[in-house]
């Protein structure tokens, strides 16, 4: 347990000195919060310019319309919801950045051999590395969402609109799907990280995990589906399965000797 704590602290001390990592952890969530709030402020009076008949709206809008909302408000909710999908990049990008650096970083500093020479178990090593990436990711996601929720309230000051924008769907997405996504990103990056030798390559490869979120974003714009609580729950269930497979694979793939002796 002490060893895991040591590793996590070391990882943070080291990794946050890296500008790229610091930027991702600090500014990405902030940006993802500022954007929807900015749009919300900008659209403050948009209500009138939108056709008033709900029937004229594309299906992807109308799906966001609760009966107690006016058309302009529906549009606002839709826009904010698009940004919330982008917000889900946060729990993916942060752990991917940190974890991708993780093992490859030890290779480039040539510390990996010394680490593997200590009586640390493979499990402790993987756990330490995973937690070092998971904790900041989940924390940043939760804090950023908290700021978003407060911001929405300050801007709309209306319980109807607030509950439409901070609804069960997004609470589930952030608090349930968020950590599951982070875990997926961590394991994927650890796998990548132990197989390549260049931190930049690891970084870029790990960013592949962001693609599904982009898929969701485009899918909803194109009207292929509407993100509702059910879809969020299904996503969570799928992630649980994916995570289980990835954790298993990461542990299997982490062969001390192979990582140490493979030079390309």
């Amino acid at each position: 347990m002490d060893k895991i704590k040591t590793l996590v602290r070391k990882e943070w001390a080291e990794v946050f000195k890296n500008k790229m990592v610091f930027f991702t952890v600090a500014f990405l969530p902030l940006m993802m919060v500022v954007l929807p709030l900015g749009i919300l402020i900008g659209m403050g009076g948009a209500g009138e310019s939108i056709p008033s008949d709900v029937g004229e709206m594309p299906a992807q809008f109308s799906a966001f319309c609760r009966e107690d909302l006016e058309t302009g408000e529906c549009f606002q909710v839709f826009m904010v919801s698009q940004f919330m999908i982008m917000f889900m990049i946060v729990p993916l990008a942060i752990p991917a950045t940190i974890a991708a650096y993780s093992i490859v970083g030890e290779k480039t500093t040539r510390t990996l051999e010394s680490i593997l020479a200590t009586p640390i178990t493979t499990m402790e090593l993987l756990l330490g590395k995973s937690l070092a990436a998971l904790i900041p990711a989940v924390a940043a996601t939760y804090i950023a969402f908290g700021i978003y929720a407060i911001g929405v309230w300050v801007i709309v000051r209306d319980m109807r609109l607030f509950t439409a924008m901070v609804d069960a769907r997004w609470l589930l997405a952030v608090f349930l799907v968020g950590p599951l996504m982070a875990l997926m990103a961590v394991n994927f990056s650890l796998m990548v990280s132990s197989r390549v030798n260049d931190p930049r390559v690891a970084e870029q490869l790990s960013m592949i995990v962001i693609l599904p979120v982009v898929g969701f974003f485009l899918g909803q714009i194109a009207g292929l589906f509407v993100i509702n609580s059910n879809l969020v729950l299904i996503t969570a269930a799928v992630l649980v399965v994916i995570d289980a497979i990835l954790v298993y694979a990461a542990v299997q793939l982490f062969q001390r000797e192979t990582i140490l002796t493979r030079w390309k």
């Binding site: 002490d2 040591t6 070391k10 500093t109 040539r110 051999e113 680490i115 020479a117 009586p119």
Partner: protein, 302 residues
Amino acid sequence: MIQTENLTKKFKTVLAVDNLDLHVKQGEVFGFLGPNGAGKTTTVRMLACLIGPTSGQARVNGFRVGEQDIEIRRTVGILTETPGMYDNLSAEYNLRVFASLYEVKDIPGQVEKYLRMLGLWERRFDEVGTFSKGMKQKLAIARALMHEPRILFLDEPTAGLDPEASRLVRDFIAELRKEGRTIFLCTHNLDEADRLCDRIGVFKSHLLVVDTPARLRAQVFGRKVVFHLRQADQALADRVTALPFVSETKLVDNKLLATLDDPELHNPDILRLLIGAGADVQFVGELRHSLEDVYLRLVKEA
């Protein structure tokens, strides 16, 4: 302490270590010499449980390699061939991390002890990236000692260091030996091996010879005694050669070189003969071949 039996490591096509039988005794400094690519680093990695043997067995500190790896890692320290530190963390923090991973109880105490011993205490809060190569090397040695290991593997500890830093590291190794630690030293510096090692193994995939430096010399070159005379001639040399315990003599200027098995026993006899023959003996000394000569001969013959 370290005992191997048919220890073998094969990398795809390369047979790096071939049926190595080795016995390193408790408390000795064992020099492991061999040309580049001989398999020294590979052997050390196997003994420190970093890579697994392809076949054969090894026991380190009484624990079996491949079965009790964690126990072995707890009781051995290793200075790897290319040691690395976290360059953007301080020297002290680096050691604290490894002390914790080595399950050290008194972490601040151990860190301070070795930072002071190696003269790095004043620089303890500096980032390691700002250290010179020699300072990094010393820090890496300190790291290997955090948990007071009974066996220490040193893979080329003085490679790339200036004479002063090398001397410091060598003196430090000598200190560690006095504390009764077993030291397994890989080096290309034969002078260093000669000075530090109780026994030396010359290795090239398998062990060519193992013995004390003195006996290796005797074995390869025999022992030679030089008699510096004021005036020497061939007739005198022939009389010495005729002695039953002298296997060979050579005359170089006024120096008479005699090869014999046991100079301690027979030098007085030779001296008596020389003086009886009226020769003026100015100096008597043993001709020491450098370990380098010995090594090169052994490796060439292999």
